[in-house]
């Protein structure tokens, strides 16, 4: 099966219109396999992707570009209990997850 997603490239375009990720610390909730993460994480100073699906996170970690692994991290957690101190992030992204 050949499935192509967002063939018009609108998601990336709108995401960058709505937020400036350059140099920002970003928390993505519902990152899954990291499909959306790769659309902006290169610009951020730090990106943490959260999901409750271990298998999806494993794929995301494997797919992470080697030269970006120092600033992109994935963790298994629920949005109701975020394992971070207060005022840690500049931007939070609810990725298809609200």
């Amino acid at each position: 099966m050949t499935l192509q997603k967002d063939i018009e490239g609108n998601e990336k375009k709108y995401l960058h219109e709505f937020a400036d990720f350059k140099g920002k610390r970003v928390l993505e909730i519902g990152c899954g396999e990291g499909r959306l993460t790769w659309q902006y994480a290169n610009a951020s100073s730090l990106t943490i992707g959260l999901d409750s699906d271990h298998d999806a996170l494993r794929v995301a970690s494997i797919d992470a570009p080697h030269d970006r692994k120092h600033k992109i991290h994935f963790a298994c957690a629920e949005a109701e209990h975020l394992p971070f101190s207060k005022e840690t992030f500049d931007i939070a992204v609810l990725a298809w997850s609200l």
Binding site: L3, F84, D90, I91
Partner: protein, 140 residues
């Protein structure tokens, strides 16, 4: 959901940004598209449970706004297109992955198969989803 929004607010810096990005059910259009033309062949049917999920998400954001946790700055909708080689692949995907919240009825299925069979060799079956993107600023 509301508790999650409270948590997100907690971990955001003052004036931090929350981006809410998600599909919204709206009887998405089914298309057959080739390099030469795109034809709408029908619409999917939305199930009540999926519509209820969208409503619940909207209510959660409205509650967060009324609590002063977030202030809405901007909101837009845009199309997000899923594209498959054949109508059969699209039908399989909908039946296996999205059967909880949408369905492709017989009329749309037949129209899509027919249009694809009669179309150019590069024709694909597509689903044009409606996406919401909203930017919220952390409240005082």
């Amino acid at each position: 959901m509301v508790h999650a929004l409270s948590e997100i607010r907690r971990v955001l810096i003052p004036n931090g940004i929350l981006i809410d990005l998600r599909p919204m059910l709206s009887r998405w259009e089914v298309e057959v598209a080739s390099a030469r033309e795109t034809n709408v062949t029908g619409r999917v049917n939305d199930f009540e449970i999926g519509v209820a999920d969208d409503t619940a998400a909207n209510r959660s954001m409205a509650e967060a706004e009324s609590n002063g946790w977030f202030v809405r700055e901007r909101e837009e909708f845009f199309p997000y297109v899923y594209s498959w080689d054949t109508p059969h692949e699209m039908e399989e995907w909908i039946n296996e992955e999205w059967n909880d919240f949408i369905e492709l009825d017989e009329e749309a299925t037949h129209a899509t198969r027919s249009a694809w069979a009669l179309s150019d060799g590069d024709a694909r079956a597509q689903l044009r989803m409606k996406m919401l993107i909203a930017r919220w600023r952390k409240g005082e």
